[in-house]
Amino acid sequence: MSIALHLKRQPTVPLEAETISPDRLADLSNSEIRSLTVYHGKRQLPLGEFFDVEGERSDELHLHGELHKVRWIGRAMSRGSIVVHGSAGMHLGAYMRGGRIEVHGNAGDWLGAEMKNGFIHVHGNAGGQIGAAYRGSLSGMKNGMILVDGSAGLEVGMRMRRGMIILGGPARDFTGLQMKGGTIILLSGAEIRTGAWMNRGVIISLKPLRMMPTFARASDAIPTFVHLYARHLKQYGVTLPCSPAEGAYRVYSGDLSIPGKGEILVWQPADVDMPLHTQVVSCKGVRQ
């Protein structure tokens, strides 16, 4: 048994609906769910004004419709699942502590911001500040995983501390800004200033990046942990190349301005003209 919410009326101004979360809905009857409060701008209205609700007492939510104006869905959820058939608005899964969110469409800014755990998969594009820290906050996502098949906006993983963000499409500027840990995997690269001011953490890019001038080139290698990541990511359909025959990762460390110990790994496909053993320097000693 699950709960299905169909958007019946498009909100004219942003709808703040942090009540749409499995934790909140799990023990409520259908009529109780319909009478939950949502904020349409400054006005408090019952959820039933905007959504048709089917089902009750379940922590599996199915949301239908173009919800790009609906914000804070799944805020601080700790269990269950939310599946959005359509698009979702800002702050989807912010402060999330567990459970799953799946979006068959696009998501907005601040996706999974400051999440502690859980899994988010966006099949379309996402906005900026994915898994980031809110303004004035010291750290962004602390664990969990965000997988975006499409592109992303500015400041992805800003000040993130742990966890993993995987972007299938390109990201814009300031990916991994002030990162403090965790991993960002860019399957289609990013625009400028990737890893600016990063302190720790790893950014892996399979496409060439325009590096910040404050990163020092360390070596070409396939660090051991990439093999582990590659194996772990297979279940999500993400392929990380990690065989020396295919090429190697160019390791950069920085940002020198902090000075930080972050690493950016940029995949370099094997150059056919050069013998392989001259490219792959070492598999050990890169991460100590």
């Binding site: 004219t12 101004v13 942003p14 703040e16 942090e18 409060t37 904020y39 701008g41 400054k42 006005r43 408090q44 104006k69 804070w72 805020r75 601080a76 800002m90 402060y95 800014d109 601040w110 900026g128 500040q129 809110y134 303004r135 004035g136 010291l138 500027d173 300031f174 800004l177 400028i192 200033r193 600016a196 001011w197 910040m212 001038p213 404050t214 020092a216 940002d255 020198l256 301005s257 000075p259």
Partner: protein, 321 residues
């Protein structure tokens, strides 16, 4: 993390022996800045005036201000953030290669000299203009310079200050800050202020079409904002308070002509260093002041029933984690 490291222009006038203008053209945009506050004044601590001070100009092209500068650094367009980040690395004696410095269009000798002068100064002050804060990277460019100023305090006194323009913009920031705790990009929809630039800042709200009414006072977004924002202003009821008819007035439903501040209306203006200055109007105007209009609108709103349901409290979003 940065933070605001600032001082008043009086302190700059009395003490600053090292002045940087970054991405601004004060000779043409703030013509009295040099003579009144920064480089020309003599003081107890800098008795020889201009001779005791060093001025550096960083810009993408040689403007008229370059003539006044001792050192002019021509940075490649869009490389300000990179240059500031390199400077942050260099003041900490981190090794940056010559090729990496060359990306910014400057050489190692120039930057070594600059870092030496910065560390050797008694009181450094950096002023940044729209060339820094309104180019690619936006707030992060300003944050970079503010952070550099903060970090320079490990060696010597250093401050950074934006070069504000357009009337009383500093005043708007200051008032919002002491009233709500945040300078801009605030929503009150839950009954208490929440801050998130990008989500609640005017241009983003208008571009996304998130508001269903607009009240514009002392600004002309119709002339400066991107087209989608202007289109949205046309769609929704827009009210403009302005002394004269602006681009925004032409696309608004209501335009209320008000007395011009400082000329026919009294009030307080904030200088760019956040010093409040009283305005004494020399003329009289047949039009009401902005304040009178807003007060009357406020009274009319107060006569309406309160927008929250009887006896209910707004649910704080932050209290629920």
């Amino acid at each position: 993390m940065g933070g605001k490291v600032t001082c008043t222009l009086g302190e700059v006038k009395q003490r600053a022996d090292f002045i940087v203008y970054w991405g601004g053209n004060p000779a043409e945009c703030h013509p009295r800045h040099f003579t009144k506050y920064t480089i020309m004044q003599k003081s107890k601590f800098l008795p020889r005036g201009r001779k005791d001070r060093t001025m550096v100009l960083v810009d993408i092209r040689e403007t008229k201000s370059a003539k006044a500068a001792d050192i002019f650094l021509q940075v490649k367009p869009g490389k300000d953030f990179e240059l500031i980040t390199i400077l942050r690395a260099m003041i900490k004696d981190q090794h940056v290669t010559d090729e990496q410095i060359a990306v910014t269009g400057l050489s190692r000798e120039v930057l070594d000299d600059l870092v030496g002068r910065m560390k050797g100064a008694k009181f450094g002050c950096m002023f940044f203009g729209m060339g820094l804060s309104m180019t690619r990277g936006k707030h992060m460019n300003s944050a970079a310079l503010l952070t550099l100023a903060a970090e320079m305090n490990a060696f010597t006194k250093f401050v950074a200050m934006p070069m504000r323009g357009h009337g009383n913009v500093t005043g708007a920031d200051v008032i919002m800050r002491w009233q709500t705790g945040f300078p801009f990009g605030i929503t009150f929809n839950r009954g208490y202020p929440r801050y998130n630039p990008g989500e609640f800042s005017t241009v983003d709200v208008l571009v996304r079409g998130d508001c269903d009414a607009a009240f514009i006072i002392g600004a002309d977004p119709g002339a400066t904002m991107p087209q989608p924002a202007i289109e949205h202003l046309k769609r929704i009821p827009t009210i403009v308070l302005d002394p004269h008819v602006t681009h925004t007035s032409r696309l608004s439903r209501v335009h209320i002509t008000t007395a011009p501040q400082g000329i026919a209306a009294p009030g307080t203006a904030y200088r760019m260093d956040e010093i409040p200055l009283p305005l004494k109007p020399p003329l009289k105007s047949p039009y009401p002041t902005d304040e009178q209009v807003v007060r009357r609108i406020n009274e009319a709103i107060a006569a309406k029933p309160f927008w929250m349901p009887e006896g209910s409290q707004p649910q704080m979003l932050t209290a629920q984690v």
